[in-house]
């Protein structure tokens, strides 16, 4: 059933991969706006703990999310080598705090496998698919699902 759709979408995709909590993840390179070093964030009150706060991105207020903690992994200890990947989600920008950027992957869409049914809800919710490169497994993050539900703003 899915076969035709896959063969039609035969263009190569480029993905930026990075490390978060000892696992390798990636996002579509087209959604990455920039990659920058870690700088201390201003915490937001009454927010989920994976929201590390906000930083100044050239005049805009950028929320920073600890990707590892969002995926229910141990929280990231930000260091000088930590990296913020600024990704665009719809009209919004969000900064993902990760350990390090590792690679740019160029793949065929067929290389992406659907996420198998694993026990971890977070992994199921946020991982769009799995990619195997040599002996590495890289999970593609569905960035649009990362931000908490916007309550009270739906109108």
């Amino acid at each position: 059933m899915n076969q035709p759709a896959i063969t039609v979408a035969n263009e190569r995709r480029e993905l930026t991969s990075f490390w978060a909590g000892d696992q390798e993840y990636c996002v579509d390179i087209m959604s990455v706006r920039e990659i920058r070093g870690w700088s201390a964030a201003t915490p937001l009150p009454q927010s989920p703990s994976y929201m590390r706060g906000v930083i100044n991105l050239r005049g805009a207020v950028l929320p920073i999310m600890d990707l590892a903690e969002r995926l229910d992994l141990p929280p990231t200890e930000p260091s000088e080598r930590s990296v913020i990947i600024v990704v665009q989600v719809g009209e919004r920008l969000v900064g993902l705090l990760v350990d390090a950027v590792s690679d740019i992957l160029s793949i065929n869409p067929e290389q992406i496998q659907p996420t198998p049914d694993v026990g971890c809800d977070q992994a199921k919710a946020f991982v769009r698919g799995l990619i195997t490169i040599d002996d590495r497994m890289v999970s593609e993050i569905a960035v649009e699902r990362l931000l908490p539900e916007l309550e009270g703003l739906a109108a």
Binding site: V54, N56, V61
Partner: protein, 732 residues
Amino acid sequence: MDELEEIKVTFFQECDELLGDLESGLLSIDAGDTEPELVNAIFRAVHSVKGGAGAFGLEALVRFAHVFETLLDNVRSGKTPLESDLVKVLLRAADVLADHVAAAKLGGEGDAAATTAMVEELEAWTSGGPGLAPPALQADVQPNEDGIVFKPVTLTLPEFEDAPKEQVWIITFQPMDALYARANEAGLLIREIERLGKVEVELLDDALPVFDNLEPETAYFAWKVRLKADVTEEKIREVFEFVEDHCSTTIVRETSPTALAETGPGPDIAAILAAAQAAYPEASPPLTPPRIETVAAEPDLPAEPATSAVAVAQPTSLRASPAPPAEKANQATIRVDPERIDKLIDLVGELVINQAMLAQRVAGHGFAASSDVGRGLDELEQLTRDIQDSVMAIRAQPVKSVFQRMPRLVREIAGLTGKQVRLVTDGENTEVDKTVIERISEPITHMLRNAIDHGLETAEDRAAAGKPSEGTVRLAALHRGGRIVIEVGDDGRGINRPRVRQIAIDRGLIAADAQLTDEEVDNLIFLPGFSTASQVSDISGRGVGMDVVRKSVQGLGGRISISSRPGLGSNFTLSLPLTLAVLDGMVIDVAGQTLVVPLTAIVESLRPAASEVKKLGVQGGVLAVRDAYVPLVDIGRVLGFQSAEINPAEGVVLLVDSEVGGRAALVADSIHGQRQVVIKSLESNYQQVPGIAAATILGDGRVALILDVDALVAMSKREPLRMHEPSIQAAE
């Protein structure tokens, strides 16, 4: 979007402005303003709508506007006296015109039945006037492209003998740039004249500059057409009907078929043009040619007095008046893509932050404030502030554009409910960011409907209650606490609390034995599914009223509250953020975090003595301030930054006024001082955060959060309430 569509969009934007002018003009007249320019202004508004509509072939709109315009023209010339009954009719006609425009915008036509009825009414007034004057004989006053209004240049011509059957008309036609810009073609127009009879065309190229000075998109040429035909002036004018705003034409009849204007007794066109152009030496002549209208064969029409500013070439036969002084020209506006302004605002915000960072670094290098560098920085700061203020002012708009639409709404609802209503507006010039303007119209509309439909009594009930039969609805805007506050009040019956309570119980919204304060009862009307109208009316009462208002207000980061006094009326208060603006704030430290408190909310700051702090209950506390006890609000705890309480006696206390809970004392660790900050939205990339109004960027480049004082005080009240409520209920 193709070009025609773009022009159409502009046309509808202009229409909205024109309709606004029309309505406000009529309302001023209704209020007793007798300034004659007002009538001219409303005439122009209708005329311009008609002109534009004609260009787009919006026939229904043109037809209605024409009838409307004809009546206004009679009013303008004094042929139909402007009685107050007539003003009411004109106001309703303006509503119908607005409907037509709105319908045309969606590609349809206005309500035919309403139009026919209104047309009949207008025509009755037109013919009911003391005399009928074909509009074409009236001198027109038209704003040109720059918005400068030229009064008619009236030419007193020698009287004519009975005109011969075959007349000779001299038509001078000078297109403006806009004529070509709107894809009209001078050649086609001249060809159109040619169809009327025999023509001789002469090109007037006097205005053509030397090649170096030639602007490729400027219209330099004019034409003089000598038309020999058995036609009326009106017929000729029709040729120019759709371009009349974008060219200047003169049409005069040659007295002797053989004599040319230069030598004959008729007016010297070139001299008239030269004279008129002499009045505007600064403007490039082809850009702003004055519109010259001739009034033929009506010598008894009073001529405008000549002024010395115009070099009058033929003093005996030509009198001209120049454009009115520059005040009108100042009202000219430019249209700018809002994105450009947003970009500019962002850049200026960056500039402010950069300037602050620079100042911090310079201070860090040990330069004294009195040094050259220090003084230079001071000037830079001043300049930066000025630029910032100016830039912010560009995007801020007075709420007038929204308020202007309300009189019509009130008239309609008053008509539907049969109540007598007077709308009083206040604070129309309160400025608020454009993004807010666009979204406050809907909640205001709902609140006004509610006030008239539910709040006000019928005239009989009012009389019985000893009130004037006409109810008053008040709509006001003001700035308070760094927010814009919109108030909608009425002097009606107030909220019927027992009834509201009963309805809430009937609908299962509250428990039958719930203990509620008056304020809590009033706020029940905001619950979804609550509607007090026993009959469902067209206006409100569909049970979607106030909860929808509250939702949309909350969506804007705003709040709505109500206060009501039985028999005296209700007052809705809408408080909205100024989304993007500069804010004067107090920078404070709380639990290691830097926060900004809007200065407008702060009454005073003080360091309380330990003896002034009193414990109240388990966690609460109050501060004795000059014989009054003010609840203490620990900012760090309410926001969840820390669990331990600051001892107010060791910290700093900010006394604030909040809308919800009156005065409160915010406890902080320390105060850094006051400064102006640029408000940055948290919502643009994230979402609303409770207790936080927005964010800003400090001199060191870090983000600081701006407190929402009202929400913070409300949050501090809610916390203990939730904990205590069950025990109180259990005790009862």
